[in-house]
């Protein structure tokens, strides 16, 4: 053995290899992450969502008439699937749904092969919901089609963040569609609950601070690691729900994702004590805050029925905004770039 140093190492300034720039998205029509979108692109999507929502359905369905869109769903979904499907059909596209439970995926077909098969069948874009983080990237790299990420594992759900933004703007900045780095200055959005397993939380915390929002993450250690505060600028962690609520103009409640707990034990009584949004808490700490939830909601767990149905709740508004935003995103997918007709 060689000479052994007996002192602690001295930090030297060394040149090291840097990661190369991302090649994603390969297709300009793809929406994999909120980070793919400039604020200009976000503004354009918000404007198109409103325009498409207001357009006569009889002319709107010419926009993507007979174009083929596949919905590839490896996880169950009500809101996202239905709103994507309605959005695509509102623009005149033909859609087909492939789910892991009634397809060759059950027989062991890989995501790559399923994607190539859909492309060979004529799909011009794929909307993907998948239980593995990063699945949308794999699908886009292998098919090079426009891929719309409808939720990948614990990672991202970009259209949810866009529809949440539309909801927030409607309440706090009515009439604003062109967003910039200070559009939401002075606004604090608190996201509460199972942050660790939430793709909704990640997409929102990566998007909202770019518009000036302060994002406060609130939850117990098991569901919210300290390192979350370092995920990006404008993000902080607050363990005390009351303290977080007091600062908030918007509070987003999240479901505990039992399917992703991977053996983790959560004491639900304790959890409710600390983090359930009750009418009392809301009235005491944030009587004018907008209450949001990406759904599905579990009444009586993360929030009470009274709050879900109460006057501060924007939960069903979020659902409605989902269709408008997804029309804009689907339109963008098939009308951007070299194969586009826009």
């Amino acid at each position: 053995m060689n000479a052994i140093a007996t002192t602690a190492p001295v930090r030297r300034q060394l040149q090291t290899p840097q990661p190369s720039a991302s090649l994603f998205p390969y297709n300009p029509g793809s929406l994999l992450s909120v980070e793919d979108l400039s604020l200009e692109a976000v503004s354009h999507l918000l404007a198109r969502a409103t325009a498409l929502e207001n357009q006569n359905p009889l002319t709107r369905d010419r926009i993507l008439l007979k174009r083929r869109i596949a919905l590839l769903f490896y996880e169950s979904s009500t809101r996202t699937r239905t709103s994507f499907e309605l959005a695509a059909k509102s623009l005149g596209a033909d859609t087909t749904l492939v789910s892991n439970l009634s397809s060759s995926i059950e027989k062991g077909e890989t995501l790559k092969d399923t994607g190539l098969t859909l492309r060979a069948l004529g799909a011009e874009a794929i909307i993907l919901r998948h239980n593995s983080s990063g699945a949308a990237w794999l699908l886009e790299e292998t098919t090079r089609l426009p891929v719309l990420n409808a939720g990948d594992g614990m990672h991202e759900h970009p259209t949810q963040a866009l529809l949440d933004l539309r909801t927030i703007l409607a309440h706090l900045r009515p009439g604003v569609q062109t967003v910039g780095p200070d559009t939401l200055d002075g606004v604090t959005v608190t996201i509460v609950g199972d942050i660790l397993h939430s793709r909704v939380a990640r997409s929102n915390m990566m998007l909202l601070p770019r518009l000036g929002t302060r994002v406060v993450l609130c939850g117990p250690k098991e569901l919210l690691p300290d390192s979350a505060a370092n995920a990006g600028p404008g993000i902080s962690v607050e363990r005390d729900f009351e303290t977080a609520l007091r600062q908030s103009q918007v509070v987003m409640m999240l479901r505990i994702q039992a399917e992703r707990l991977a053996g983790m034990q959560i004491d639900l009584a304790q959890y409710k004590d600390a983090y359930q949004l009750t009418g009392q808490r809301l009235a005491a700490q944030a009587p004018t805050a907008v209450v949001m939830h990406p759904g599905p909601i579990i009444r009586g767990l993360e929030l009470t029925a009274g709050v879900a149905d109460g006057p501060q709740s924007a939960i069903l508004e979020q659902v409605r905004n989902g269709v408008a935003i997804r029309m804009a995103v689907v339109e963008r997918a098939l009308t951007t770039g070299k194969e586009g007709r826009a």
């Binding site: 053995m1 060689n2 000479a3 052994i4 140093a5 007996t6 190492p9 001295v10 930090r11 030297r12 060394l14 040149q15 090291t16 290899p17 990661p19 190369s20 991302s22 994603f24 890989t110 995501l111 790559k112 998948h130 593995s132 983080s133 990063g134 699945a135 990237w137 794999l138 292998t142 990948d152 594992g153 614990m154 990672h155 991202e156 660790l196 793709r199 990640r202 990566m206 690691p225 390192s227 979350a228 370092n230 995920a231 990006g232 991977a262 053996g263």
Partner: protein
């Protein structure tokens, strides 16, 4: 080919303290003579390799490779893995036993070394520490050793139980074998696919905390201390965290026989290189934080690290073309190690060439007690690498001799191009690819 002369080269043999122009005569698989340029006494009739402008060094030794045989020949075979080794300048590799079946008997250890495997360079099998590497029953170390095993390990997984690790260390010491530990507390890494921290959080991936590695290294060092037996040798495989290398540094200061290796990817890359779910940046231990990576560089420069080992882990393309969480761990490394070490450790970070080569030959040979390897003194095995130390080239994973292409270094600039690799006197690799064109002429003096 009974005799071969390497002429006009610059010999760097750190184990022998040589760094000078030398000619070398290789005969019957051994080094027969080393002399100043033109001074060989007994080179008549030998074929000549002209090494003008080239560096001549002991063949490289990789003490951590996965050759996938028996049982997973679709990933790699001993023949293809050792061809990649030869192309990378390696003349000996130590093969990990996590194959199918696990190499846990003398019979399998012999099978690994059989001429029928078609190895291009020397293969040293490492035996499994426990039956089937299940961590329950100790194997017969004396039998493994007499069949040719050079160490024991359950690599791929740790020897987790305290009592089992203590027994392994003690039993291996009795027969003079090293214990190589894959240090990972798997209770902390369930379902995880990269390093724990902000990057994993952002990518929505479950993380392996650095403590999963360092806590096992610390536990093992404690066991070595308690055994109070100078024959006990603990070798920490693929060290990747500042805390683990710190524990090794401290153990060495306390006079314990604890060694460690670092893989090129752990001193070059960080968790940021996972990028957008690049499965060719997924391995175990995972790429760590920049601070951990910097600690690996420091530990190499200050001499705590005993060997550069690649953890060459070939996988079939289709196995890596899946969701990140579902992809198998591991990357190839045999063809890129020298080029990366010379490009970064030597050129960028100024580690003297002799020390770089020592980490790739003399030290790993000493670590596993590979007699006659890692040096080119007279009587040693005729294991030689001849390379152009100045040549820059670009690695193209598609042109590999390995069956596998799973490397994060595809397209990277390398320094130092291998011209010939000679294994026990036989040319195992030449950069022209045509063995008979290698020879510059026949020695007539």
């Amino acid at each position: 080919m009974s005799a071969l002369v390497i002429r006009n080269g610059h010999l760097v043999d750190p184990g022998a303290g040589v760094d000078a122009p030398k000619d070398i005569l290789l005969k019957d698989g051994k080094v027969a003579e080393v002399a100043g340029p033109g001074k060989l006494k007994s080179a008549n009739g030998a074929e000549v390799l002209d090494a003008s402008g080239l560096t001549v060094a002991p063949g490289l030794i990789d003490i951590h490779v996965h050759l996938r045989e028996p049982g997973q020949a679709y990933k790699e075979t001993i023949a293809t893995g050792t061809a990649a080794a030869a192309a990378g300048g390696f003349t000996a590799v130590a093969a990990m036993p996590n194959t199918s079946p696990v190499v846990d008997t003398a019979e399998l250890v012999r099978w690994m070394q059989s001429p029928e495997r078609g190895a291009c360079v020397r293969v040293y099998p490492i035996g499994a520490a426990t039956r089937g590497s299940k961590g329950e029953t100790l194997n017969d170390f004396a039998a493994l050793k007499s069949a040719g095993a050079v160490a024991v390990t359950d690599d791929g997984q740790p020897i987790l139980k305290d009592s089992m690790m203590r027994e392994t260390l003690a039993a291996a010491a009795r027969v003079g074998l090293s214990v190589i530990q894959h240090a990972e507390d798997t209770r902390m890494t369930q379902g995880a696919s990269m390093n724990a921290g902000p990057t994993a959080f952002k990518l929505g991936l479950r993380g392996m905390p650095p403590e999963a590695e360092s806590s096992i290294v610390e536990r093992d060092i404690r066991l070595v201390t308690e055994l109070r037996d100078a024959r006990v040798h603990l070798h920490v495989a693929h060290t990747s965290t500042a805390a683990a290398v710190g524990a090794v540094r401290k153990a060495r200061r306390n006079g314990l026989r604890v060694t460690c290796e670092v893989a090129p990817h752990h001193f070059l890359l960080t968790e940021e290189h996972v990028g957008q779910y690049n499965t060719n940046a997924k391995m175990n231990p995972p790429l760590r934080s920049a601070a951990d990576r910097d600690a690996m560089i420091e530990a190499i420069l200050d001499g705590v690290v005993d060997a550069i080992a690649t953890d060459h882990a070939p996988h079939a393309t289709h196995e890596k073309e899946v969701e990140f969480e579902n992809a198998p761990n591991g990357i190839t490394g045999l063809e890129t190690a020298l080029g990366l070490c010379l490009r970064w450790l030597h050129r960028e970070w100024k580690l003297p060439l002799g020390r770089v080569l020592s980490l790739l030959s003399a030290q790993p040979a000493a670590l596993l007690g590979l007699k006659g390897r890692g040096t080119l003194t007279v009587g040693s095995f005729a294991d030689v690498v001849v390379f152009d130390p100045k040549a820059e080239w670009t690695y193209n994973a598609k042109e590999t001799y390995s069956k596998a292409h799973n490397t994060p270094f595809d397209g990277w600039t390398m320094q130092g191009k291998v011209r010939w690799t000679i294994s026990e006197g036989r040319i195992a690799y030449s950069s022209t690819g045509v063995p008979n064109d290698l020879v510059a002429g026949v020695e007539s003096r």
